[in-house]
Amino acid sequence: MATVEARDIRKSFGTVRAVDGVNLSTKEGEFLVLLGSSGCGKTTLLRMIAGLEKPTSGDVLIGGQVVNDLPPRARKIAMVFQSYALYPHMTVFKNIAFPLKAQGMRADAVRQRVEWAAALFGIELLLHRKPRQLSGGERQRVALARAVVREPAVFLLDEPLSNLDAKLRASARDELQQFQRRIGTTTIYVTHDQVEAMGLGDRIAVMQHGRVRQIGTPMEVYDEPADTFVAAFLGSPPMNLIEGKDCLVGFRPEHFLPKEAFPMTEAASVPFRVTRLEYLGADRLLYGVLERPFPEQKVIAKLPSTVTTSIRQGETHEFVVKEKDLKFFDRDTGLRTAPRPLSTQFA
């Protein structure tokens, strides 16, 4: 087992800065998720850690040792690709055995290890099949088995669930996490799916334009976003951001509740005119605009279906947000700033 560290790592393709000065380090046995939209540099960062891409500058450390000049095979890593990258001409057995044979392991030892890895993912019965005869879920298991089989120090996973259908993805997520907890290998997981990131990660590094905007536990990045990007990127629907006098005020749609149902003290009272309703089963989404003294800005409220307050289109209701659920951001830099009384922002 080992930790992974990136020190001021950069990668340019021509004039495009794909990764622009990333510093991060994993803890021993940690499940770290790199989260960002496509093109944010997360996959490039992962490929540099794997050794498939050479950083333009900066260092990659695995187990405390600088591995910049080591080829992928010497880094004690295993990687699972988005496409799974199974060798199409080999059977499942040979696919899983490939990394072992590359190490020069003896045939009977190889057989033992492959059977162990196959049992781990419940694919013992598929060993003689070719990848094209497998379903998406089975291919993913084979890819994972091939990664585990030589017991790497670090797992690198590049969107391994994105080719599965929604139902399978949920169960695969569960299995993946259980499996990682059991073997306790440090894992870096790249995804653009915030649900996956929140559900799987011990910590999440939120990336944008080749930089890490925030790194923290799922709770930290969701509840205490470091800037407006993270605030708007996480959560569905995203955080409401309204312009105050000298800062941006943010609150999550699920914290924006009708006063009738939640008569709270220490809460800001906000008049909200509902312009559109969406009934989603478990929740109700209310789209609308704020009314004076607040600027006429669009916001969204998300009410769980357990809140049965009657609200119709076109009506104005008093809504409340707890003081502690209000987040304040600098208008220019977008960075989080100190909380201040709402009355100073909206007169």
Binding site: A50, A85, A102
Partner: protein
């Protein structure tokens, strides 16, 4: 009813010609488009082929107007001759050795050209040149390069000091050397096609697979022989098939360089058929010689295409 039809036509803006009718009917349009190609193949390939089949079982000669059926006499007659047996052996040596070299060198070149490096376009252009230049012209160039007196190779190597004052190989005048030279020029000529085909095959392998092999710790050779080559196989087989058919049936290089000499040591079936049938006037025997390998090549073509289909992986 008529009025309604007319109106619809105006609305759709389609001219009401007979051609536009055909244009919308696939069962007519398809054959119409294929027609010229089929006509071309029938006239230029099919007709001569069947004529050759017919000649091979006749007693036709250049200049005679009679045409009698003689059965397989031409075949049985020619098989026993030393001339034919030498040519048959030479054909296999020529075809197999040149294809072996083309495949190995084509693979090396394709692998090298897959990487990015400065001046890659120039190298690509140079490699493609032999294919673009007319083959007889290129071979005439080679005729000068390996000339017995003016050979630029010999003069250069003597000037550099590699060839001693008494060492002066006559490239086309010594049996084994002549075969070697002919094969080398043929390889030079077929290499571009094989390289381009293999390059296309290489670039169709997903990058992830190469990345996976790298992460899985495969050395260069293991990576190449266990991952790249098996995935390249369907395409390589096609390149090999083209090359083999070319090597078995084409005689341009041999005709220009050696005319089958010295002492028939570079004579192949294609050139022997030409010298017997066209130059020697015995059309029937020439046809028999040229058709001799047809069943073999047909079988090889079918076999190769089967392998290619079976090893298609994705």
């Amino acid at each position: 009813m008529e009025a309604v039809k007319g109106e619809a036509r105006v609305l759709l803006g389609a001219p009401a010609t007979r051609f536009s009718y055909i244009r919308d009917r696939e069962e007519w349009l398809g054959p119409l488009m294929l027609g010229p190609a089929i006509l071309y193949i029938v006239l230029v390939v099919g007709f001569p082929f069947f004529l050759a089949l017919y000649y091979s079982v006749s007693d036709i000669t250049l200049g005679s107007r009679s045409l009698g059926f003689v059965g397989l006499k031409n075949f049985t007659g020619v098989i026993g001759t030393t001339k034919f047996q030498t040519a048959l052996k030479n054909t296999f040596v020529f075809a197999i050795l040149s294809q072996l070299l083309v495949l190995v060198l084509g693979n090396v070149l394709a692998l090298a050209l897959q990487k990015d490096f400065r001046g890659k376009w120039l190298v690509r252009l140079l490699i493609l040149l032999p294919w673009v230049a007319p083959i007889s012209l290129g071979t005439i160039g080679w005729l000068w390069i390996v000339d017995s007196i003016y050979s630029v190779i010999n003069w250069t190597l003597r000037a550099v000091g590699i060839f001693g004052p008494t060492f002066w190989p006559i490239w086309l005048g010594v049996p084994h050397l002549a075969m070697g030279t002919v094969i080398a020029v043929h390889v030079w000529r077929l290499l571009p096609l094989a390289t381009v085909i293999l390059l296309a095959g290489l670039s169709s392998i997903p990058k992830d697979i190469h990345d996976a092999a790298q992460v899985d710790g495969a050395s260069f050779w293991r990576h190449y022989f266990q991952v790249t080559l098996p995935l390249l196989l369907p395409v390589a087989v096609v390149a090999l098939l083209f090359g083999l058919v070319f090597a078995f049936t084409d005689m341009t290089v041999i005709y220009v360089l050696t005319r089958g000499g010295p002492y028939d040591t570079t004579q192949v079936l294609a050139s022997l058929a030409f010298f017997t049938g066209v130059a020697g006037g015995d059309l029937a025997e020439g046809a028999a010689i040229s058709l001799f390998l047809f069943p073999l090549l047909l079988a090889a073509a079918i076999g190769f295409l089967r392998i290619a289909r079976r090893s298609e992986v994705v």
